[in-house]
Symmetry: C3
Subunit: 308 residues, 3 copies
């Protein structure tokens, strides 16, 4: 990379790092969060029966990360309420999305380019949220890696992580699933970000913070846009996740030692014919649920049926 | 108002403001709270199976407000336990109500005049609870209106707001409803009080605190007595609530603009004949649940059947 | 007791009080806790579907006491995560128990002598946990007996007390029971210990702390070994518990006054023939559930069937 490119990279990442989140990016975050709530079954009915429960649920969607990280660090979970500007903005957007005459605002957010731009902007706020959580954790627990990751993750993906209790506010209770059992894409990507930023803060990663912010933000934004435009929900790290899963969490099956599994993966990439042993193993795989394959999809369908 | 009346109002409100809550009003609060628990289905059975769960549930009924506001402000939710006098008093009353030989104490509280007096005294404690919550919130967040309202409300109506988790202690789980979806009368009146006192504390209301305390307490006491003696559960602000609800939260229905609804309300008060358009609208209303009308009552009955 | 015996008792109790918990006793605690999780229905399936939920659930089993007492005292519930050594150790043990090739580690822990030794060592950590909780409570609330008992109990038996929420992490929700309604042996014994140590700390008990630690630890260890070796789940204080229960919590039944009950117990020990009145009473007893008799066992069986 030439000096000129280096300079422009520095400039770009500094520019991003100094980008103010309030109000435009925050607005995008609130719109996307409240629209996500509105598109859940039963939400519109609730908004007619109890605007207060609907508002509270929306606020948990918008500020769930702050509430959860507050609870984890024994700071008032009510703190987001004290930030009047943000709350008023979020309340205004909640009102527009649920009660705007002719549903104009919601229909406007459904226009594809608008939705893509808003989602991309929301992804940008994720970086700031994760970093905010990590900084809070550092204030209390210095460079403790696990705490930094946990709080950063909670702050960035709080709305999803507390979804069971957010649903309870709306009178819905789905104990059979949660974000830990079945992680959604945003939760995964936030966990990845929290790990990266925590490693950087603890000086295990030899990159500058601003550069990492730039690359992580670019990655999440591009990936989100790709997913929205192509309609695919393909997670870019799925093969890595799968390998890690197979290597680490399959040890107990007596027939397959780690060596066999790793060997299979390395060998299988280079040849078409599958030996008998490998074939058996492939069949067995289908009996054994893993987070990136078949059974999961089957459970989703079952869930869907149950709640439709 | 003449000077004499003014003086007597000041005296009266100062007298009320200096009224000590401990022990008589606190006793009334505990008695009414524990009796409310005892009259829930399954509570007597639980008191025979597990006195500890029954005691814990009773304490949540008595001190739920302190527990909830403690959680919200990141102060120990166990704090009420440290107030030995109040805990011992509440425990003694819990014991009398559930285990008194011949059920004498409970039968005594069922005598109508006793019950009315106790309920009236409990209403008085509500004012103090709300003010306590608002003061706590002010200590942490200065004059932030939303936090003051939230903590005041939580402190005043905590037992109801955490009812889902209080029921869980007793092995009962009713996720399909909660106080936000279906607000009960005490919760509503406490929210109203929290708003009024918070506005007063933030100096938006041109009244003296002591006068407001007097008027709010008188209002809740008289209203409670009226409700108990006439058996009606009519909420005095229902028409206002209904108007607010229709104006604010009906905008999305394409057929009815705000102007139409407001016009209808203003016009309808003055004449008996209903035009066709209005009639249609009235019919439509029944398809659209609102917190003060038909559908709500229907759901109550359904709930009742489910849990009997 | 002669001077020599006294000296050796002092030496023994001082030796026990200075015993370091880390790493051997902590290891035993983690092994027993995680094995308890693994032996619950559905846990192995979960470990294949979502290692993260399984890990989080295991950590709640290992550090539930610290999490619960943290919540109660408004200290960060995330604090156990900051203790890297303990977390890494617990994570390592979790990994061995769920994913060890050939299931060697788990099979090793199932060998009876190993299991007995590990369980005995885990019982030793209970004493330290209770004392830790009581000390924390004392820091915040001086010698307040109720708070000390509550926090000591929470710290010692936290994993059981939060079991409803620990199960929720694994997608299981059993609201119809909890540790308050149906106390398990470890929870009972921890409550007893919390009461004893709190009384000692508040100087109501005329014993030295080290002696009490020795006696309580010996009692729990011996009792646990006896229960494991004989397979009986007999609680040594069951008769006392029963008497207390009948005397305190049966007053409401009009037919049996306290005197009759106490008289029956005292008389019945000395003779074989049962008079008619007593016989009636015995029959009545079966209609009235109590925590140490029939009905309880019936409910257990019903629970068992429901969840198999």
């Amino acid at each position: 990379m030439s000096l000129v490119e280096m300079l422009s990279l520095d400039e770009l990442s500094d520019g991003l790092a100094n980008l103010p989140m309030f109000p435009y990016f925050e607005i995008a975050h609130y719109v996307v969060s409240v629209v996500a709530l509105r598109e859940q079954p039963g939400a519109i009915g609730l908004s007619r029966i109890s605007p207060l429960a609907c508002w509270f649920s929306s606020m948990l969607h918008c500020f769930g990360g702050a509430v959860l990280s507050g609870l984890m660090l024994a700071e008032p979970p009510i703190a987001p309420l004290s930030n009047s500007d943000n709350i008023l903005l979020a309340t205004f957007i909640w009102y527009l999305i649920f009660y705007c005459p002719m549903d104009m605002f919601y229909n406007f957010t459904r226009v594809v380019p608008v939705r893509v731009v808003l989602s991309a902007m929301k992804e940008v706020t994720r970086t700031w949220k994760i970093l905010g959580g990590i900084t809070e954790a550092q204030d209390k627990y210095q460079d403790n890696l696990l705490v930094m990751i946990a709080v950063g993750w909670a702050k960035g993906a709080g709305g999803s992580l507390i979804s069971n209790f957010e649903q309870l506010v709306r009178g819905i209770w789905r104990p059979e699933t949660n974000e830990l059992i079945k992680m959604s894409y945003p939760t995964k990507i936030t966990l990845l970000g929290a790990v990266l930023f925590a490693l950087e803060e603890a000086e295990y990663l030899p990159v500058e913070k601003n550069h990492l912010m730039l690359f992580y933000t670019l990655f999440t934004v591009i990936n989100k846009c790709r997913m929205m435009l192509t309609g695919s929900s393909y997670f870019p790290f799925a093969p890595m996740e799968w390998l890690l899963f197979e290597v680490l969490f399959m040890g107990r099956l007596p027939n397959f030692t780690l060596r066999q599994i790793c060997g299979f993966i390395m060998v299988d990439n280079g040849r078409a014919r599958v030996t008998r042993a490998n074939k058996d193993w492939r069949e067995n795989r289908h009996n054994c649920p893993s987070p990136v394959r078949g059974t999961r999809r089957g459970r989703d369908e079952a869930d869907g049926k149950k709640y439709k």
